[in-house]
C-alpha cells in the first residue's frame, strides 16, 4: 500500500509517495507557476513514474499548501501548518518549534505531544519570506542560490533599516553607492529577514528543538542569521522543501490506518488525474 502527499506552495509544488513502512519511494519538486491548477496532476504523474506505480496503487492522498483546494484527486485537504508539523516531527522527534520560510509566507509552529498545538503566520508581507531575498538578489544582479555563500564572507553587517521590501531595494542601492561591500549588505539583508521571522516565532515562546524548513533554509547565510536572532541552535532536514508533502503523506497513512482499524468506510476521490476546474463539484 502507498500513500501520497501533495504540497502546492505559492512558489514550489512538491509530491511525496510513501509506503506502509514510512519509506519515501519518490519525491518530486517543481515550480508552481501561475497555472498550479493544471500542475498537480503533472507532478503526481512524475512521482508515480519515478516509483513505478499507478494512481490506483495509492490508498489515500492528502493535499496541502496554498493551492490545496485545486487537487481534484486528493481525498482530503489539510493545512500546511499541520502537515509541516507532522513532517518535521517524523524527522526530528524532539522538535518543539518548527519554522518554515516559504516563497511567499513564513510560518511558525508549536509542537507538543506529537501534534501541532499552536501557530502564527505571516502571509501579508513579503519581508520575512523567500520573496524578499528573490527581489533583493535581482536588484543586486546576483543569483539567489549564491546569496548565502557570499554573505558568509562578511565581516561587518550593514544594517538595513527599511522593513519594506520595496524600500529595502532603494536602500541597498544607496549603500552600494556609498561604498559598502556586497557581502556586508547581503549579510544585512539576511539579518533583516531573520529578525522578522524571529519576531514572529517569539509569539509562540521558542523551545528546543527548533527546526528550520523551507527553500530558504538551504541558504547558509539565513541559517546563521536565524541562529543569531533566535539565540539557539537549529536543526535542518536534508531536504528542507519536502517536509510539507512528507507530513501530508504521513497524515494520509494515519487517517487511512485509523479508519481501517475502526472498520469505518474511507471516502476517496476517483483515481483520475485531471486538471482542476472552477465548475464541477465531484459527486462520488
Amino acid at each position: 500500500m502507498y500513500f501520497a502527499g501533495v504540497d502546492i506552495g505559492s512558489t514550489m509544488t512538491k509530491t511525496v509517495l510513501m509506503d506502509t513502512n514510512n519509506k519515501v519511494v519518490s519525491a518530486i519538486k517543481g515550480p508552481t507557476g501561475p497555472e498550479h491548477r493544471q500542475l498537480a496532476n503533472e507532478v503526481m504523474k512524475m512521482a508515480l513514474e519515478q516509483a513505478n506505480l499507478q494512481l490506483d496503487d495509492i490508498s489515500y492522498i492528502v493535499a496541502t499548501g496554498y493551492g490545496r483546494l485545486n487537487v481534484p484527486f486528493a481525498d482530503r485537504q489539510i493545512t500546511e501548518l499541520t502537515c509541516h508539523a507532522r513532517g518535521v516531527l517524523s524527522l526530528f522527534p524532539d522538535v518543539r518549534t518548527a519554522i518554515d520560510i516559504g516563497g511567499q509566507d513564513a510560518k511558525c509552529m508549536k509542537i507538543n505531544s506529537g501534534k501541532l498545538v499552536n501557530f502564527v503566520m505571516n502571509d501579508k508581507c513579503a519581508a520575512g519570506t523567500g520573496r524578499f531575498l528573490e527581489i533583493l538578489a535581482a536588484t543586486l544582479g546576483i543569483k539567489l542560490e549564491d546569496l548565502g555563500d557570499i554573505s558568509l564572507k562578511s565581516t561587518k553587517k550593514v544594517q538595513i533599516s527599511n522593513f519594506c521590501t520595496i524600500f529595502a531595494q532603494q536602500e541597498v542601492v544607496s549603500r552600494l553607492s556609498e561604498g559598502e561591500k556586497l557581502e556586508d549588505i547581503i549579510a544585512g539583508l539576511h539579518d533583516a529577514l531573520a529578525s522578522r521571522v524571529a519576531g514572529l516565532a517569539r509569539r509562540l515562546k521558542i523551545e528546543p528543538d527548533v527546526v528550520l524548513t523551507g527553500g530558504v533554509a538551504k541558504n547558509a547565510g539565513i541559517v546563521k542569521a536565524m541562529k543569531e536572532n533566535l539565540g539557539c541552535e537549529l536543526l535542518i532536514p536534508e531536504d528542507p522543501l519536502l517536509t510539507g508533502a512528507l507530513g501530508a503523506a504521513i497524515l494520509a497513512k494515519e487517517r487511512f490506518s485509523k479508519a481501517t482499524a475502526k472498520g469505518e468506510p474511507i471516502p476517496t476521490k476517483p483515481r483520475r488525474l485531471e486538471k482542476a476546474t472552477f465548475f464541477t463539484k465531484e459527486t462520488s
Partner: protein, 388 residues
Amino acid sequence: MLDKSKGLSKAREIYQNRSHRVKELKAEGKKIIGYPCMYVPLEIITALGLVSYRTYGDIAEPVTEADKALPTAFCPIMRTCLDCALKAKDDFLDGMVAIHSCDPQDKTTRVWQSYISYPYFHLIDMPGTLRTQSLEYFKGQLNDFKKTLESFAGKELPSDKLKAAIELHNRQRALVRELYKLTKPDPPLISGTEMLQVIKALMSLPAAEGNELLTQVISEVKERKDGPEKKPARLLIWSSTLDNIDIMQLFEAGANVVMDESCGGIRAYRADVKLTDDPLDGLSDYYLKEITCARTFREAVFGEARKDYIADLDSRFGYLKDFIRGWNINGAILFLVRYCDPFAFEMPSLKDYLDHLGIPNTYIEYDYTQGSLAPLRTRVEAFLETID
C-alpha cells in the same frame, strides 16, 4: 416548498436585500433612523414610531470615497460605513444616531455629519467606566437624545410609551436567547450562518416585525429535520462585530459555531433592560453595563488595593464561562478586526481566561475585506486541526 415569506427563508431573503422593508415603510411615510453601533438605545427610536436600521458597510465594496476623510490605518468597519454613506448607498435614511462608544466611531461620525446633512443627527456621549456618576452622566446623555428625537418626530415621548417599547425590545432579546438555546444540542439545530442572517434581519426590521420573524424561526427550527451536520468542533466566536456570512461559512466549513459573542450575534440580546420607574434608569444601566464590548473599563472591585488576576478576569468574562459550559463549547476563535484597539488590548486577557478554563483558542486578525478570506481559511482550518 421554500416559503420566502416566513422563517429562515425570509431571514435569508432579508439578509440579501436588507433595505427592502425600510424602503417600503419609508414610502408609507415612516421615518428611518440609522445607527452604526449596538450601544444606541433603539427603544427610544421605536417608542416614537420611527424605524431603526443598523448600518455596517459592505465588505464587498472596495473603500474609495472614504479615503478623502479617513486614513487607511483606521477601523475598517467605520471606513466602509462612511464609504457607503458617501456613495449614497443608504440615502433612504432620514437620520443617524451615533454614540461615543469608541474613538473610530466618534471621529468618523463627526466627519460623516460634515459631509452628509441628514435631516436628523445626534451624537450620544458615553462614559468609559461603570461608576455611579458615570451612569448618571450617561442617563443625562440618553435624555438629551430623547429630547432631540422628540423634536424631530414632532411629539413628546411619554414614560408609558417608552416602557412599552422597552418591553417590546426585551421580548426580542428573550426570543433571540430562546433561539440560541437551539444551538445547545449536538449537532445544533440552527447554524451560525443561519443565525447571522436572522440577527441581521432583526436589525433591518421594525422591532415588532422582528419578533414575529423570530417566533416563526423558532418554531421552524424546533421541527426541522434538515439542520446542520454534526462537526467535531463546537465553537465560540468572540469579536467586535461579525456581519457577513462569507466569514461565518468559513468557520462552519469544519465546525459548528454554536455561540457568536459579537454585535452580529448574542451580545445585544444577552440580558434584558430592567423595568424601572424612570425608564431611562433601566436603559442607561442596561446599555452601559450589559453590552459586553471590550470598550468598557470593567474591574473586579473598584479601587481594590490588591488585585487577584483570575478574580478580575472572572468578573470581566464570567458570562462566557456560562456559554462555554451550557453549550459544551470546545474551542474559541478570538476574531479581531485590524486597528481595533479595545479588542486588541482585551484579547490577551481573554486568552488567559480561556487557557485557565482549558478551552483551546486562537486569535485571528481580519481587515474586513473580501481579499483576506483565503488566509483566513488557512488559519481557521489549521486551528481546527489542532483541536481535532
